[in-house]
Amino acid sequence: MSFVEYSDFIQDGDVAIVYLSHDNMMPVKVQQGAQTQTRYGVIRHSTDLIGKRYGSKVTCSKGGWVHVLHPTPELWTVTLPHRTQILYTTDIATITMMLDLKPGSVVCESGTGSGSLSHAILRTIAPTGHLHTVEFHQKRAEAVAEEFKEHRVDHLVTVRNQDVCKDGFGVAGVADAVFLDIPSPWEAVRHAKTAMKKHGGRVCSFSPCIEQVQKTCEALADHGFEEINTLEILLRVHDVRTVSLPLPDFGSDAPSEKQPDSSEKLPAPKHTAATIKTTTPPREIPGHTGYLTFATKPRT
């Protein structure tokens, strides 16, 4: 197992995703002799996981069962330990395409946060690219570096614990793309430019507030970035449902001379409801994650 390469079988030391249900999954570090508690009972790693095929059904001690899935950046995003607010797959997918990421891309990122985007970047730029990620907070930088090791992607990434606004990304002239998710992205724009290849590349800044976007767009323009474009993307989930719509009874069009007890003789209505397949949205949905501002650094 690695986050950039599929395996067929679960091995000691892997990180696997235990799927309990659609909205209940958890990551598990597979260790000979270890156990994991779930609401369906205990999973014994040695007998229940190691050597089994990814995707297998595992019966827990209480008789309930789960599926053990191969980790992907997308499953990681919905199961990772939150040390900060994180980017979700809808934004990540857009960022990945709009930054022109592909195998071999060199990317700079700040802040690393909980590493949600980092894993998706690493998946896309492997096996020949590199990620330089800068995290202001020391504990978080250490935690994410440890995760990269466990996920066997540490050869593709350099974690730096510094203030990107003051100290930049620690590299110059190497990046094809830069991603900013920090409170004052406009302060890091010049560092983004420095980090990028002379030939040019793409930059993205994620900000929740429009004022941040305004300042960032101004800074990008001031530093000669082009094709500055701000967008927002929202996911809409459609829950598939079968619903039953009762049919109204408009009565008979015969004269109404029936006696009270005649009602018993009325034929039963033919249909009383129609069944349809439809979708419904969840009652509340995320209405905003952040604005994504993209720009192109021209040749300099």
């Binding site: 504990k139 929740p208 109404s256 009652r283």
Partner: protein, 470 residues
């Protein structure tokens, strides 16, 4: 507080009012010594009487209301200063310096909810570093726990629509307030017209239509099952004369009325809508099954049982009571009959000015039947929580003719937080507000059967090859 000409703005005994805290609303009636439960707190509204509407009250010991000095209830949110990301937060569980005991002490010192929350914020080492989203969540949680104010509002269509949508969307078929606003406008609801309403939205839609008609004109509520549901209409607190414009007609007589076979002089004509109380009808309304359709039978069964034998005196007594009741029933039935006849007379002209449908029933048969009561060149609007039934309505109408301007729509509603340097769309939004089909009736040549219509609504301007046009 002692101003002239303020009488209409003062809270009176018996008024229907709306309680408000934050985004939470609840409609209640002002009744003496009546305990009210709102947001898990109970209190009495007695003290509110005589105060102006929109006054905010503090709930003090014994559930008494005490008017608050004017000025903003959300200073705690003004005091916020968000960290934009939470890069400096470590979850060590030690961020709150106040202990449970500290808080109890604050309470004993008589600190009010809002002050306690501010204390909690001030004593949280991480609050300022939290992202705004996290801050909001924190304040909301604490507010729920410690705040104890309530504002009393005069009800309005806007407030009641927001209340139902927030509290009991299931009761109003998940009709969102902005969708309701579209319906009232698309149906051109206004004073002096004659409007048909078919709804199972607790009376909210009916009440909104009445509100927009201001007591002028007539509204005919077409109702399914045992009786018209109007709990929501009461909450509007309309003046008495508004009810003069309200009529109702049971849909089980619609076919007979259309066929011209409805005899409103028949004795048992209203048997299908007697007895069952609104409350019972409303309770059934939250059930997905179409049980209501059966209830008339069940009831007549009931009234035919019992009264076999017993002790003599009791029997006589019973007999007398029974007769009185029967008499009473007769009078009531006669009233019902008259009402029905009046409603039937309003409908018979088939010259209504508008039609509004919003129900848990399949809208297609409802629409096809009730459209027949409209004059030509009049708007109609149908709400459904789901798109598919409206596609069916659209298709049927296009086949049948008699309408133009058909449009299937929904709306997308977004609220914003506008604050210095913190402006953005609200982080949670409603997933959907339901769908509307609207259109306008036209005159049909009734002598000829409705033949295939000219396709009047053209294909999209650049038709795509993969789209076969209807």
């Amino acid at each position: 507080m002692a101003d002239n000409g303020d009488e209409e703005y003062r809270i009176k005994e018996g008024d229907y009012v709306v309680l408000k805290r934050g985004d939470i609303y609840k409609a209640v009636q002002i009744q003496t010594r009546k305990k009210v439960i709102f947001e898990k707190q109970w209190f009495f509204l007695d003290n509110a009487v005589g105060h102006l509407y929109s006054t905010t009250f503090e709930i003090v010991s014994g559930g008494t209301l005490q008017p608050q000095a004017r000025k903003s209830t959300d200073s705690s949110s003004d005091a916020k200063e968000a960290g934009t990301d939470n890069r400096n937060i470590l979850d060590d569980g030690k961020s709150q310096k106040l202990t449970r005991d500290d808080i109890e002490t604050l309470k004993e010192q008589g600190l009010k909810g809002q002050e306690i929350i501010q204390q909690l914020i001030d004593n949280s080492s991480t609050f300022r570093d939290k992202t705004e989203y996290a801050q909001d969540k924190y304040i909301k949680k604490k507010k729920k726990k410690y705040e104890n104010t309530v504002t009393i509002l005069k009800p309005s269509c806007r407030i009641l629509a927001m209340m139902y949508h927030g509290r009991e969307p299931g009761k109003i078929c998940h009709l969102r307030y902005d969708t309701l606003s579209q319906m009232l406008t698309l149906a051109n609801i206004h004073a002096g017209s004659k409007v048909l309403v078919f709804e199972t939205c607790a009376g909210l839609v009916l009440g909104s239509v009445m509100d927009r008609m201001g007591g002028y004109g007539s509204v005919i509520q077409m109702y399914p099952g045992g009786g018209p549901v109007r709990a929501g209409v009461e909450s509007f607190g309309f003046p008495a004369h508004f009810h003069n414009m309200l009529h109702d007609f049971p849909i089980c007589h619609v076919n007979a009325l259309l066929a011209g076979t409805l005899d409103t002089t028949a004795k048992d004509i209203s048997s299908s809508d007697s007895k069952q109380s609104d409350v019972a009808a409303e309770e059934e309304q939250t059930q997905p099954e179409a049980k209501q359709q059966d209830s008339p039978e069940e009831q007549s069964m009931e009234t035919n049982t019992g009264t076999d034998d017993g002790q003599d005196q009791e029997k006589e007594e019973k007999e007398r009571r029974k007769e009185a009741k029967a008499q009473e029933k007769k009078v009531k039935l006669e009233e019902k009959r008259k009402k029905l006849a009046a409603a039937a007379a309003l409908l018979e002209g088939r010259n209504a000015d508008g039609l509004v449908i919003a129900s848990r029933f399949h809208p297609c048969p409802v629409l096809m039947s009730l459209l027949k009561f409209l004059s030509p060149s009049r708007p109609f609007v149908v709400y459904s929580q789901y798109k598919e039934p409206l596609i069916e309505c659209y298709t049927k109408l296009r086949e049948q003719g008699g309408t133009v301007n058909l449009r299937l729509t929904d709306t997308w509603l977004r609220h914003y937080q506008v604050l210095p340097n913190r402006t953005h769309p609200v982080l949670l939004m409603s997933g959907g507000g339901g769908y509307l089909l609207s259109g306008t009736t036209i005159a049909t040549d009734r002598s000829k059967p409705p033949g295939p219509q000219r396709v009047e609504e053209p294909a999209p301007k650049r038709p795509k090859l993969t789209d076969a046009v209807v």
